[in-house]
């Protein structure tokens, strides 16, 4: 019990709780929630492309801070993530 709790982290994506493995990136939490990341300048839904912090397609709002690269940010307990609706 204790172990599995330590190995998982729960965050909220667009208000819905999602459990991810400890050490998972925010991008993973967004994809596991069935969401995509940012909305493009012409309104398209975008999701991670490069996975390494260079393409900026994975930007989301984390704890109220916009434009964060979700692939370069690790999930912390109770993070509030807001992604493309």
């Amino acid at each position: 019990m204790r172990d599995s709790a330590a190995r998982e982290v729960t965050v909220r994506v667009n208000g819905r709780p999602v459990s991810v493995p400890a050490g998972a990136s925010v991008a993973v939490a967004v994809l596991l929630a069935g969401r995509t990341c940012r909305t493009s300048v012409t309104g398209e839904a975008r999701a991670p492309l490069c996975g390494m912090g260079t393409c900026f397609e994975c930007r989301v709002t984390i704890n109220g801070e916009a434009q964060r690269r979700s692939c370069q940010t690790l999930c912390q307990p109770d993070m509030e993530i807001s992604a493309h609706e």
Binding site: V20, P21, G23, A24, S25, A27, V28, L31, L32, T36, S40, V41, T42, E44, A45, R46, A47, P48, L49, C50, G51, M52, G53, T54, C55, F56, E57, R59, Q67, C71, Q72, T73, L74
Partner: protein
């Protein structure tokens, strides 16, 4: 508002992949006070992404251990966005770091080259290394149908990795020819340790169709990827899948070397036998000096680290090792050269610049990167042309070679702290 924190080290290494790790350890062994800075939350760069906890080639573990045991100051989650005389500036979540150095080692690595084709902006169309990075970051891939496509040895590694993690790898589509691919494979096996690696890989990818002369033509899906059309030996086939992992080999990350003024010739930073660049006290190691893979990066990193710490004797001893792995660079470039058919994948309305949503038809009639940027905003978004720049180099033959601070999109508060005014570096 961020605050600025000041640090000073003898040797500062930028980039925590294999080259940077090797450089930092070598510099510390040679007696320098060393700092290692990396944008990622953990060391390892791309090839060893996920840090010590993840599974890598056997020797990765000992490098991580040596790094851990060393006296190197590790600063992760810090994006270097600016540089001046004897210092670099980085942004972390909490602060702007101004890190002063006597010697600097640039180990900025490489990224994948992406090429536009209809549907490439759909969610779940990713880089080959891109999908691998996501899986290493915790994305479950078991039971998912994956097509790996593009070009380069990375495709094989990614296919093997996905299979090992339970994905159904439907196909590896390699755009180069069978003759070129086999020629490359045979010549690689002449290098130390490579026969074993090749045989291991062969076992790992057993059962996955490996197609040469094969590339993606388009991707379709309503709100995310549903199927991919591939050109396979001249025939078009449509395959349903969950992920397309597609990258066209690697391009070096030259933004920071260029900002600092290091001479770049062809596509790479010019270095001498000590990994010295054209700028005094600035060294460069790994992919930015030529795409040559892990063993070359480790050798160059060690040389750069020792030399940056003033221990040129130790650096010189590694010369033969570097020379043997250096042979990979031209072999790789030739084997995975992009075929011209790939220039015709994008249709008029296919986006080329994904940050600013600029389609192919708006870009194709310009004669330079600069002109296209000014008129269409391509390359002006947050990625600063890191994605569309290498694509347009191939599609239109443009040279993408400007770099000015900040070389990374940063918070306004970090810009306010930037010591080097953007005006200073404008020509």
């Amino acid at each position: 508002m961020s605050d600025t924190r000041q640090f000073a080290f003898g040797v500062v290494v930028i980039g925590g992949g294999p080259a940077g790790i090797a450089a930092a350890i070598a510099a510390a062994e040679s007696g320098a006070r060393v700092a290692l800075l990396d944008d990622n939350p953990r060391p390892g760069g791309q090839i060893w992404r996920g840090g010590p906890g993840a599974v890598h080639r056997a020797d990765a573990g000992s490098w991580f251990e040596r790094l851990e045991r060393s006296a190197v100051t590790k600063i992760y989650g810090a994006r270097v966005f600016s540089a001046g005389d004897g210092f670099v500036e980085a942004e972390s979540d909490e602060a702007v770091l101004r890190v002063n150095y006597r010697s600097l080692v640039l180990a900025t690595g490489a990224r994948e080259r992406f090429l536009p084709f209809p549907g490439w902006t759909l969610p779940n169309v990713m880089g080959a290394g891109g999908l691998q990075a996501l899986v290493k970051s915790g994305l479950p891939i078991e039971g998912k149908r994956v097509i790996v496509a593009g070009t380069g040895p990375l495709l094989l590694a990614v296919g093997a990795y996905m299979k090992e993690h339970g994905a159904k790898v439907l196909c590896i589509c390699e755009q180069t020819t069978w003759t070129k691919f086999m020629g490359f494979g045979l010549r690689m096996t002449l290098l130390p340790g490579k026969i074993r690696e090749a045989l291991q890989l062969k076992v790992q990818i057993r059962g996955i169709p490996y197609r040469t002369n094969c590339w993606p033509v388009s991707a379709t899906g309503s709100d995310r990827l549903e199927s991919v059309r591939i050109s396979d030996g001249g025939e078009i086939r449509e395959i349903e899948c969950d992920y397309l992992a597609c990258g066209f080999h690697l391009v070096p990350n030259l933004e920071l070397p260029r900002l600092i003024g290091c001479r770049v010739e062809g596509d790479f930073v010019q270095v001498d036998e000590m990994q010295r660049t054209s700028v005094a006290n600035v060294y460069c190691a790994g992919e930015p000096t030529g795409i040559g893979g892990l063993d070359l990066s480790l050798a160059e990193g060690r040389i750069a680290g020792h030399a940056a710490a003033g221990n040129e004797d130790a650096a010189r001893k590694l010369g033969p090792r570097r020379a043997s792995y250096r042979k990979v660079v031209p072999l790789m470039a030739e084997a995975f050269r992009l075929r011209s058919e790939l220039k015709r994948l994008a249709r008029a309305d296919t986006l080329v610049c994904r940050c600013e949503d600029v389609p192919f038809e708006r870009m194709k009639n310009f004669d330079s990167w600069r002109a296209a940027k000014l008129q269409t905003r391509c390359g002006m978004g947050p990625c600063q042309g890191r994605v569309c720049g290498p694509a347009t180099e191939f599609l239109f033959g443009w040279r993408v070679d400007s770099a000015r601070p900040p070389v990374f999109a940063v918070k306004c508060s970090s810009l306010a702290e930037m010591a080097v005014g953007a005006g200073e570096s404008r020509q």
